[in-house]
């Protein structure tokens, strides 16, 4: 069923048991992003340690795709350098635009490749990107 390519087991797992959810006390910056058309929201705390992403924590409400995606993203980029994190962001962003033609770079994206199917559902791409855009915004503000 087409649906299974959207709702990969990994996604449903992250949705049920999200990682790094719950805002940290410490933060370099906090950003709040939302998708006005569906009402999904995420608040994200970022802590950088020089060039390295030391911590990401978040809170939010939204659908399985948006919540699982921010969970997977946090997991992926904590501990990465800023440059690496941006490369991962770019790879994920590109995957989302692929209209189902790409399965994603598993070396770079790890669990993130589970979202490959989302790219076939145009209305869900913005769900998958919500947390990523929040991170991009936060890290740009801190680093530039």
């Amino acid at each position: 069923m087409e649906l299974d390519s959207l709702y990969q087991e990994v996604i449903l797992d992250h949705y049920k048991s999200p990682h790094h959810k719950g805002l940290s006390d410490q933060k370099d910056i906090q950003v709040h992003h939302k998708n006005p058309s569906c009402g999904d929201e995420v608040t994200l705390n970022l802590v950088m340690d020089g060039q390295v992403v030391k911590d990401v924590s978040w809170d939010g409400v939204g659908c399985s795709i948006s919540m699982a995606s921010v969970s997977v993203m946090s997991e992926l980029i904590i501990g990465k350098s800023y440059v690496q994190a941006l490369a991962i962001f770019d790879a994920f962003f590109e995957l989302m635009q692929s209209k189902g033609q790409s399965s994603g770079d598993e070396n770079l994206l790890e669990d993130g490749v589970a979202f490959a199917g989302v790219s076939k559902f145009p209305a869900r791409i913005k769900c998958a990107l919500l947390g990523w855009m929040a991170f991009k915004d936060a890290s740009t503000q801190v680093m530039e």
């Binding site: 069923m1 649906l3 709702y7 569906c38 009402g39 659908c63 795709i65 869900r124």
Partner: protein, 415 residues
């Protein structure tokens, strides 16, 4: 079912297509926009093919025929809502209709002319289109925006009506039927209170005019707005109705050709109602298409459509009540409610509910339904909404109920 409208479905060409997973289309999103019968589609196309010309302007036969078609459409819309022909203004949408009144009422030279100290009343269950234009009018003029709350079962709370509608109230802008709850509001209580203090009543009929018979005189409102595209008509056309003597005293909101009496470089005066509210070459083909939609609705019969939708609503409410973990948001009984049913599924986000339903060919709306303040009040991130029109039937309800069970099992919630 006691009303059988099944023979009409074939008039809607979209049902010939297949959707996700090769499934037939089960369209339960008429609250967002309705489907169109072939007669509407060809009325619009035929306008372009045979009489397309700028109305009220040309000296030629096409212009004559186009003007005749456009003005007949106006007369037809007027009859549909029990109004006089010259009281009907064609706009692009209900959104534009509502904004237009709000601008006009704030324009210098209008009577009434909203200003600081005046109060504008809305409700907590307004669609953004009948809320934000009034917020903005209040902001521009210094008037105060106040509102009716809602009760737990999704009805207007009129218990404090005399403290909401006061001597300062100039405008009461209210929805006829909630696009989230399906609730039909107790209008006469509101119009009485409003008129007692000399306030004008603006009715958002987006969810009512397409579904049951309306008579502006009986409703006793001063303005009414609805959209063509929810009324089996084309996109790009809406209706603004106003009482003749009220419209006459208002300044227009949109300025340009065909709405003037005289123009100099410095200033201009206006043509008569309704012309003064229709600047520019109008949406002629869409007005003609809307007229065809009204012809179609009249043939089916608005009373039959209402009864049919009532039956479907009752059936869906009853079916939903039997599924554990499913909560209807809005009235559970059939008293004063139309064919719009919002619900939530415990443990599954509305967007995910909608996605699974889509897999079975079922089109619903999910989210905040352009009624964010209401969602916040209800402490909800959104709902899933099923809404009907005449082409729906009991099989659609069975399919939806069955698919909701599949949603639950797919997301492994409930038993």
């Amino acid at each position: 079912m006691s009303v059988d409208l099944s023979k009409y479905k074939k008039d809607f060409p979209i049902f010939a297509r297949k959707v996700r997973g090769g499934n037939p289309l089960i369209y339960l999103d008429s609250g967002a926009t309705s489907q169109k019968p072939e007669s509407v589609i060809s009325a619009e196309a035929d306008f372009y093919r045979t009489i397309n010309a700028a109305v009220h302007r040309g000296a030629h036969l096409l212009a004559e025929e186009a003007s005749e078609a456009y003005e007949s459409a106006r007369a037809n819309v007027a009859k549909f809502i029990g109004a006089k022909t010259d009281e009907v203004v064609f706009t692009k949408s209900a959104t534009e209709s509502l904004n237009m009144i709000a601008y006009s009422l704030g324009n210098l030279g209008s009577t009434p002319h909203i200003s600081a100290g005046d109060e504008i009343v809305v409700s907590e269950m307004e669609h953004h289109a009948n809320l934000i234009p009034w917020q903005q009018l209040a902001k521009r003029t210094g008037a105060k925006l106040t509102w009716f709350s809602i009760t737990k079962d999704g009805r207007l709370d009129l218990s404090d009506i005399s403290s909401v509608i006061t001597k300062k109230t100039k405008i009461v802008a209210i929805t006829h039927q909630s696009n989230v709850f399906g609730t039909i509001v107790p209008l006469s209580e509101i119009t009485k209170a409003a008129h007692a203090v000399g306030a004008l009543v603006v009715l958002d009929a987006c969810q009512s005019a397409p579904h049951f018979s309306i008579d502006v005189k009986k409703l006793d409102v001063d303005f009414l707005a609805f959209s063509g595209h929810k009324t089996l008509g084309p996109t790009g056309v809406g209706v603004l109705w106003g009482k003749a003597d009220v419209l006459e005293k208002l300044e227009p909101a949109l300025f340009g050709g065909s709405m003037v009496d005289s123009v100099t470089m410095e200033s201009a005066t206006w043509a008569n109602v309704p012309r003064k509210f229709e600047a520019g070459v109008p949406n002629m083909a869409q007005a003609v298409g809307l007229s065809a939609a009204i012809d179609y609705l009249n043939i089916v019969g608005m009373d039959k459509i209402f009864e049919h939708e009532q039956e479907l609503t009752e059936q869906l409410l009853s079916g939903l009540s039997k599924i554990s973990g499913v909560n209807v948001v809005g009235p559970l009984d059939m008293k004063d409610r139309g064919g719009v049913i919002s619900f939530t599924v415990d443990g599954v986000h509305p967007h995910d509910v909608g996605q699974v339903l889509d897999q079975y060919g079922i089109a619903v709306r999910t989210g905040h339904h352009c009624a964010w303040p209401l969602m916040k009040k209800l402490n909800l991130v959104g709902t899933t909404r099923a809404s009907f029109h005449l082409y729906n039937d009991s099989n659609d309800i069975y399919a939806l109920l069955e698919a909701i069970e599949k949603v639950k099992s797919y997301f492994k919630v409930g038993k």
